[in-house]
Symmetry: C2
Subunit: 277 residues, 2 copies
Amino acid sequence: MSKKQLIMERALELFAKQGFEATSVQQITDHCGISKGAFYLSFKSKDELIFSLIDYFMTQLISDIDYKVKNAQNEELLFTYFYTSFQTFFQHSDFAKVLMKEQAQTLHNKELIEKMHLYDRLLDKVTLSMIERLYGEEVNKTKYDLVYCIKGLMGNYSKLMLFSNASLDLKLLSESLVEKTNLLANHATIAFISEDFIQSMEQPALGEVTKEQLLEMITQKTDELEESIEKESLILLKQQVLEPSLSPAIVKGLLENIRNHPHCKWISYLLRSYFNF
Amino acid sequence: MSKKQLIMERALELFAKQGFEATSVQQITDHCGISKGAFYLSFKSKDELIFSLIDYFMTQLISDIDYKVKNAQNEELLFTYFYTSFQTFFQHSDFAKVLMKEQAQTLHNKELIEKMHLYDRLLDKVTLSMIERLYGEEVNKTKYDLVYCIKGLMGNYSKLMLFSNASLDLKLLSESLVEKTNLLANHATIAFISEDFIQSMEQPALGEVTKEQLLEMITQKTDELEESIEKESLILLKQQVLEPSLSPAIVKGLLENIRNHPHCKWISYLLRSYFNF
DNA sequence: TTGACAGTTGACCGATTAGTCATTATTATA
DNA sequence: TATAATAATGACTAATCGGTCAACTGTCAA
């Protein structure tokens, strides 16, 4: 394990307990068994550490949920959405706790708050596309409102379960939320959040990347990886972005190859969007 | 305005913008136009200030909602609940922002976290009693779950509106939530939160006070008040607690007298519970 | 005019923080 | 083994924090 990963893992444990601001670099290095100077060899500041943590987990979270949602049958779609979300959340419960604690306006780095908002909106986008697919035109007037209801319900249940040490039946919780979502989608008529409301809030462009940024990211990740199937797949995918020559089946297979590598989830997500899978 | 009130008002503005931990005493005193020493003449620590703020606003918030809910007709009950909650919330939006930011585990004072939990549970209690009154035995299995759904929905909409500067139609929002609550109450069958779950979480006693504590609080408040109808009412109510002699109508009238005084809302709430109004 | 007094001030204190860098330890190379 | 290159250390700095207290100000009765 690289020193960077060690620091990230151990720091996350402290952040989950005490919060980001309340945890000093000294505490982190003590908890890692390294010196303070060594910390600054891996991260150029404490802020860069929390940046890395949020990027690392949020990209995994979003791409995981997006993949599961895109590849689920309609009958199991809602359940899959909730179950995957909660599962991923509790799999990385330390990170989830940090996210809850520092949610919205506790952190004072402007850039970081913007990043969080961006990820937040990306998650909304996944939820919205699921709703549109499930209920179609019928919920055109209420779908944005529905997204916020789902978010509110999930957030509250997550908070409850993360900070109480109760044993958790994720299956029951997911089933319960499936029922509620169906009720609200099929019978609610009064929407508070409209499309106008959404548009009046978001000015900056959504998390889209240009072809050039995508290529650059692939190059960077390729350099980081050891020789492996994942690395070879990435190289082939890069060529495919530069000049398409492979069949869709091959491209899909290559994407599948890198999907479960923790460091490739985000690129996998971006490439799936790029190739329309 | 007393110096204490000045500090509380001005500090709240800063806390809403920056959060409690991120605001220094120096900033507060600068913003008040007083010296650092003067701050410590009114509050013996920075913690005591946030304590006072939370007590001052939470007691008002809870007693307001409780009163409105207890005195509303069944047909308008849900709407009144939501509308009053949101109205009170946005009337004191600076405090609401502080509450959102520091919710749960950001603050590091153990006593303060306990206090917040207590107020949280008191609000749950108000919500639960409303649900029981509205839907009766029919929701016995799902009522605790319903409380958490309502809380999640309200919390999410509140967050959205407090931190976006959008114009707000509280009537529409309340109507929308009335519809949703009715849908969930009348048709949801799968409850995730059960009575057992609740009981397994709360060990300490709920915010009940003994007769002695109640009398002491009344005495203290009486001393603080100027000569007024409110003060006279309080004195009479104290006697009524010591040895009941007045008719229910008179007691209710006396309670009404003090209900809207900012410093008496909490005592009014406690007395209403004590006298079963 | 004096002196007692309540109210107010801001320089100061000890503790803690993120971040630096000269020094030392370890490893790789020749 | 000797030398160069790299990795790791922890004492140090400058800044900020909550909280204290000797000194100062203005008021009013004597």
